[in-house]
Subunit: 489 residues, 2 copies
Amino acid sequence: MAKKITKREKDYSQWYLDVVKEANLAEHSPVRGCMIIKPNGYALWENMQRQLDDMFKETGHQNAYFPLFIPKSFLSKEAKHVEGFAKECAVITHSRLKATDNGVEVDPDSKLEEELIVRPTSETIIWDTYRNWVQSYRDLPILINQWANVVRWEMRTRLFLRTMEFLWQEGHTAHATKEDAMKETLQMLDVYARFAEEYMAMPVIKGTKTESERFAGAVETYCIEALMQDGKALQAGTSHFLGQNFAKAFDVTFQDSDGVVKSVWATSWGVSTRLIGGLIMTHSDDSGLVIPPKLAANQVVIVPIWRNEEEQSLVLEYCESIQQELKEYNIRFKLDDRDQYKPGWKFAQHEVEGVPVRIAVGPRDVANKKAEVARRDTKEKEFIDRDKLGKHVIDLLDEIQTTLFETARKYRDDNTHYADTYDEFKEIINEKGGFVYAHWDGTAETEAKIKEDTRATIRCIPLDDDTESGKCMVTGEKSPRRVLFAKAY
Amino acid sequence: MAKKITKREKDYSQWYLDVVKEANLAEHSPVRGCMIIKPNGYALWENMQRQLDDMFKETGHQNAYFPLFIPKSFLSKEAKHVEGFAKECAVITHSRLKATDNGVEVDPDSKLEEELIVRPTSETIIWDTYRNWVQSYRDLPILINQWANVVRWEMRTRLFLRTMEFLWQEGHTAHATKEDAMKETLQMLDVYARFAEEYMAMPVIKGTKTESERFAGAVETYCIEALMQDGKALQAGTSHFLGQNFAKAFDVTFQDSDGVVKSVWATSWGVSTRLIGGLIMTHSDDSGLVIPPKLAANQVVIVPIWRNEEEQSLVLEYCESIQQELKEYNIRFKLDDRDQYKPGWKFAQHEVEGVPVRIAVGPRDVANKKAEVARRDTKEKEFIDRDKLGKHVIDLLDEIQTTLFETARKYRDDNTHYADTYDEFKEIINEKGGFVYAHWDGTAETEAKIKEDTRATIRCIPLDDDTESGKCMVTGEKSPRRVLFAKAY
């Protein structure tokens, strides 16, 4: 409930954990670093999945499924990939347990010849497979996506934002030309940006990562970056142009229409349950979760109020007709007619769980042919005539979706700064947080120094061209454009 | 393509593998025992998932997600569960790799204090979680399902039917009373039976497993059993009444409305990608895959035929209007207007991939205001007037769905036998295969002897009461009813 939630102002980290807990989204599991996604949290993920999946299919992709396990040797085939992923990971070394007097133990006789790694990402096993799928230019492009769980051994975890196991989708495409692969990379970045803005109501900035922040094995990593309410950035999705790195590592070639044998061009792109963390930190408030209507499992909750049986049947009948109407409008709703809870308790629960619109109906509303409609985002309430209710609610859901986006964009813009000197930069990063546009000389050394000094990183080199050339705030060297800095999750 | 498919009569096992390969459903992966589910195979799974998920939600269930990893010690908490599952499994012992001169090796310093097991099923981790979720009778029932991957270390694998990793759903529910839990168990058995029969067009027999075939930790295991075209049975889904076994092992209690603290009652139920194997072996033929329309990604493929550009634009325009109409009928279809393939090649591909209905349109059809409609199951073709096409196709899809079920049921009935003596039983099992109803004395010893002698097992003790009492065919002891025997996958 809301009163159990720490105020954002007081402790943002604790506020986040409180919202996750009180809105019943997720909890820690007995396996350190792994989370249990509770029904409310999973319903958010399902709605995100459904929408993204539609967008992937509209752009010509099909789903497939590749193995959870990757032979250890695969990880070292792509030179840079191994640096990024052959580190902290879950290693399977044995295939059998045996019973003992006090439990079970690993059977030493079941040691594997080659250890298996639980996939941290699937480029290697997928490109090993594509070798057999591609012979001719006619076999290209391959446009495949996979919904899966992946594991990266993390010790400092945070529900949704950083967990050892997480759910995600990973697209892996193969193309005949560099141009096609680049077009795909940018197309999927646009899909992610559109999803973030239109569905999550979370404004994002599109850009490329610097070399040091690039995906291990990519030629170029594109990303979308969002700003959270505490002034820290969240990388919300990445789309990688992999060049021919994986094709060469796994020997994936094709005979082109000109008869020449060439290496295949690749992309990969992914978003994960991390998005749920981003959604929480973009919209929620000190009363709990706020969900954009387009992703809410229930966009509306109807709470009937009665004191006796006569009122109950009167009110429930009235609610029945409201339900019929909401159904006709294709609004997702639930009726909360639980007997054992009082209306006030229900109100508090739906508020902390973020249901966008609440309709409350008591005997007086029935008599007046009205209903009380409350919106979660602004907490405004008004009495609406019954005959205008359906239309009102559908418009209100639209308005909430728009308001959430506009509010988040305003916050983002209000917290976007320009720094021209390093002192100014450090002051903004330390005092205010937020996004900071500044000039950088393009070297990894300067980037590392800034990170060392301030903990801020280059979130991306934005794709927009709304910038001027200048001089690096640290070294004074030439800079072709401002890049985007922030402290980040 | 069809000519690459071994005839069923010649070698049923090879036929199965050929269909899986030629219909592009799945293939083996470099990790022994794991499969790669290709887009056509995954599309089947997606359609199954969507339908089952709707049925789960209609019966009040919500989805959630629990960790992939289970601490080793959890497996030994439930006495019988440990016997069943703490055997062949994927054991994670280390959490880090380190680079060496020629690749990567497991870092011995990263040895885990307690090994983790990749979940073979999730009862233990879920019931460990439910302990914190349940205090009062008000917290019950918990009706949760999870879509997930699981791993059981299998060495003799067969695509879809038996693989080391597979995809499934596992429902795990918690109830205040035995009656509620039993009602849930039977409800989900009915959901599975309905799904198998109405969507997969696969007739099933519902029953209980004998003690020796029961799920490790269950009080009673209910199952649905189907008969494949080679006379072998396939267990297609199970629903377990777990009694209070897991509640007691994980100390999950609640205060009932009478104030008394009691142990919670449990069920679990699951179906997996194995169903795809069942679907293949129920309907497919020597020309390849046959898919029931309700589960087909594309229920209809439209193949336009032309020899020159003029014909092409004429035919494609005509196809456009057909597409419009199919859309209005909510029929899932695709237009195969690929330029690089000849119509005959396309026909062969759609046949082997099992698209239920093919509409072919050439210039003459345009002139005659007709289209050639071919059904995959019977291979019948007819020319249909354009103005009757949409209605014809929607009726035809219904008819195909019905015909597939009726054909499968007839095959099942024709291959269901009654044996009164053990000699008769052995002869049927060895010569004809199929389902055999026979009397059994109810002992594990007799069951084991029959399995030893014939490789047939008791598939289930059917729930129907269409049987008489008699004498065990092996021992002559009393038998209250006939049980269902078969060799099985």
